[in-house]
């Protein structure tokens, strides 16, 4: 019972006040579970400070195709057997020094000798086989399995301590490219549970991860390659772009990812092509999109060059296909649909004369905040299509609702024809990762296709070398000429904030794979 006399009443009040003030004083020292990380403004100059958009959910190696995980671990903590050069698109040796195949189905890989894991153990064929087996053949449910390999398992054979054979279920000319998605971990790594903090062979090893606050890594003394310029690195994360930019301008961080010019980064913002392409996907099961002339009219009605110039200050590039330059299958010769409003109106009138219901509503489905100025872009497109004589409603949806439109099975009872604004990133460097999903008749993100296009895609998938490039170019041309499922808008650019104290040249992979070993101190 809390009974106090009037005089003694002051004591509990005083005690309560003291306790609360004590809490405040203690609070002033540190936040619960925090330690003095190296990420403060007083960090030593041998520490590279990186601020990301979000905390990685995990650093599990077989989830490295997730942007927030890959940006930390890929080629920094862990390394793949083969690595794709993001600029040239060529595959380069990493933990495998050579690879070859006689039939495009069984591939032989020679492994690098003298490589050590962060726990001191040596890397050899057993580790390479265990890595592939764990990510592709196990029941672990690795994200990279679904992203790159599908349901088919790979057959693995150890030839000797530094040679392995990998056999696909069918001919796969880009198997080495697929293997570049697998980050190598020791054979002792659990095959039944995912591992949040992997042991790798990369130039940096994990020192500590303060959940919710920061990750610290340190240069690995026994790294097989060239030692990185910075002996330590600190990752923090801030959701707000303007805060990340402020951390660069105030000197609290050296590199910030995921910025846009609106974040007030000024001259410290460096833009780079990020392999993302924005397009409109038209569902041809409903009027007016069941008439190809309307789908062509949409392409003619959108002024892509003006959009790029006015909304994105000329950084982006008007697109004619779903993959940008640098990806196998992209063609610089494929023309961007010209902006011709008269032609668009003419096509709409023709379709109407032939009985197409051109007044049927079109739902432009857009994901809120998917990329900078997306709402303005959607409004411009809505206006331009309206001028062409079409009826367009704007549907701004949050991610989970938008996903119901993005992936099969699509909604069948919408109140209009569906036109989805999609942002597609091809980080793999080969058009197969795009067209199989977006253009085949049954593709997960394809609204429709044609048997002819399916056949062209199958031929391209099986081709290699120059034939592969030519075959995919044909696929993209055929889509624009005969199918017109898509109205392409622009190849986008990303932006990094880079402080004046460091030197780093971003490339198309920087948003997904920030290789800290490539960062040096500014001269």
């Amino acid at each position: 019972m809390l009974l106090v006399t009037p005089r003694s009443r002051r004591i509990p009040l005083a005690l309560a006040a003291s306790a609360l003030l004590g809490t405040t004083a203690l609070s002033g020292c540190s936040v619960a579970n925090s330690e003095d990380a190296a990420g403060g403004s007083s960090a030593p100059s041998d520490t590279l400070r990186v601020v990301l958009q979000q905390e990685p959910p995990t650093l599990e190696a077989c989830e490295s195709n997730l942007t927030s995980t890959g940006v930390v671990i890929r080629s920094t903590i862990t390394e793949p057997l083969v690595e794709r050069n993001p600029t040239s698109g060529e595959l380069e040796p990493k933990l495998a020094t050579q690879w070859s195949s006689k039939d495009d189905q069984t591939w032989t890989l020679k492994l690098r000798e003298g490589v050590k894991f962060h726990d001191g153990s040596d890397f050899n064929a057993d580790d390479a086989i265990a890595t592939i087996d764990r990510a592709v053949n196990s029941k672990l449910g690795c994200n990279v399995e679904g992203y790159v390999f599908g349901d088919d398992d790979l057959k693995l054979k150890k030839v000797d301590d530094y040679t392995i054979e990998v056999t696909a279920a069918k001919k796969d000319p880009i198997l080495p490219l697929r293997l570049s998605f697998l980050e190598v971990v020791p054979k002792e790594t659990s095959t039944t549970e995912k591992v949040r903090e992997p042991i790798g062979t990369g130039p940096y090893q994990i020192e500590d991860w303060q959940a919710g606050q920061s990750i610290n890594v340190a240069a690995f003394a026994d790294y097989w390659g060239e030692a990185p310029a910075y002996s330590k690195a600190n990752y923090q994360w801030r959701s707000e772009g303007s805060v990340r930019a402020a951390m660069i301008t105030s000197g609290e961080a050296d590199i910030a990812t995921g910025l846009s010019p609106e974040d007030n980064i000024g001259d410290l913002g460096v833009s780079y092509p990020n392999n993302e392409t924005v397009a409109l996907r038209m569902h041809a099961d409903t009027a007016p999109f069941d008439d190809i002339r309307i789908r062509r009219a949409v392409n003619y009605a959108i002024d892509k060059e003006s959009i790029v110039a006015s909304l994105y200050a000329g950084r982006d590039k008007a697109a004619a296909q779903l993959v940008p330059s640098g990806v196998v299958g992209h063609s610089d010769d494929l023309p961007v649909w010209e902006f011709n409003l008269d032609k668009a109106k003419e096509l709409v009138a023709e379709a109407k004369a032939d009985g197409t219901d051109v007044s049927a509503p079109i739902n432009l489905v857009v994901r809120t905040a998917q990329f900078p100025k997306i709402q303005e872009l959607a409004q411009v497109i809505q206006e331009q299509l309206t001028q062409a004589g079409l009826t367009v409603n704007l549907k701004m949806l949050e991610t989970s609702q938008h996903l119901t439109y993005q992936v099969r099975p699509f909604p069948t009872k919408d109140d209009g024809a569906i036109m989805l604004m999609t942002q597609h990133g091809n980080q793999a460097g080969d058009a197969a990762f795009t067209v199989d999903q977006y253009m085949t008749s049954k593709g997960a993100q394809s609204a429709f296709g044609t048997p002819e296009l399916d056949e062209l895609i199958a031929q391209a998938d099986a081709a290699s070398g120059d034939d592969r490039q030519a075959a995919f170019e044909k696929v993209f041309k055929y889509q624009n000429d005969e199918v017109v499922q898509f109205a392409h808008i622009a190849h986008q650019t990303g932006m990094l904030g880079i402080s004046s104290s460091v030197a780093y040249e971003p490339n198309s992979s920087s948003g997904d794979e920030l290789r800290l070993a490539e960062v040096t101190a500014a001269k």
Binding site: T23, S27, G40
Partner: protein, 346 residues
Amino acid sequence: MLTYLRKRIIASALPLVVVIVGVFALARMTGNPAALYLPLNATDTMRAEFAARNGLDQPIWVQMAQYFGGIFRFDFGTSMRTGQDAAQMALRAFPATLQLAATTMIIAIILALIVGSAAAMKPNGILDRCSSFISMTAASIPDFWLAIVGIWVFAITLGVVPTSGVVGAAAWFLPVATLVMRPFGTLVQVIRGAMVSALSEPYIKLARSKGATEYRVIAQHALRNAAAPGLTVAGDLTVGLVNGAVVVETIFGWPGIGKLMIDSILQRDFAVLQACVLLTAVAIFVLNILIDLGYALLDPRVRPSAGARQRRKARAAQGPTHGSENRTLAPVGPALSTSESSRGNH
């Protein structure tokens, strides 16, 4: 007191059950997590394996039974997003939110007591008008805007505090300064109004006529009676902060439970969301009891013993009674009228 606590716990059980069931049901109405966790081109086999791995292939009532069973073992399952124990994630984030909320409210209450009391000394005077303008402005400024402006002024232009983060005492300045504005503005208005009423009561005149100093009149007599409505509003404001200061936590990278909850909702991380909601619900329940006890400290009439005394007196006056008797405690809610307060301590 034990009886009082027991009754409060029993009375709170139903709302807690509603919260537990509600968060379970509402979370699942947001959609299938597989759509977010698997690649867009994942095959049907992969989707089936994902559902089986996370128990989502079970009938909904089985999932709910497992969830309820887990609560009694304090096992909320594993985060789909991070693979970590959901309860540990919630417990790790919660202290950071509590620290932020406590610091904010202490500063807001102290400042509001000073400014509100000073303003009430001379209603409609220059000080009163200024405080009214400042408090209304403070209560109206959006957190988001204030936080960004604060970063620009104090971190970038002046360079006196870090933009964000949790390292060092200086890192507290911007989050607390941003959060303190709304409680401060609201409390100044409440305390000012209550003080104006209290200062016009007869017992204040009596105290002054007996030669009490002005400090004693305000601090010992008027403020004590004006504190009850302030405590009510402060309690509500604290509950809001304990729920998580999402905007501030997001902007300043504060690893609190508000941001964790939002991330869990956006990522359909059911286990973490359920753990966070239950933890905050329990915390708010405890907080409400503490607020009730605060009332008891301020006003003897609302103490459980006071209610029992009143009933005993009533029985003595009326003789033996029959039938049902209201056995609940005397009202502990916020509805103290000024006239009741005026009789409180005198």
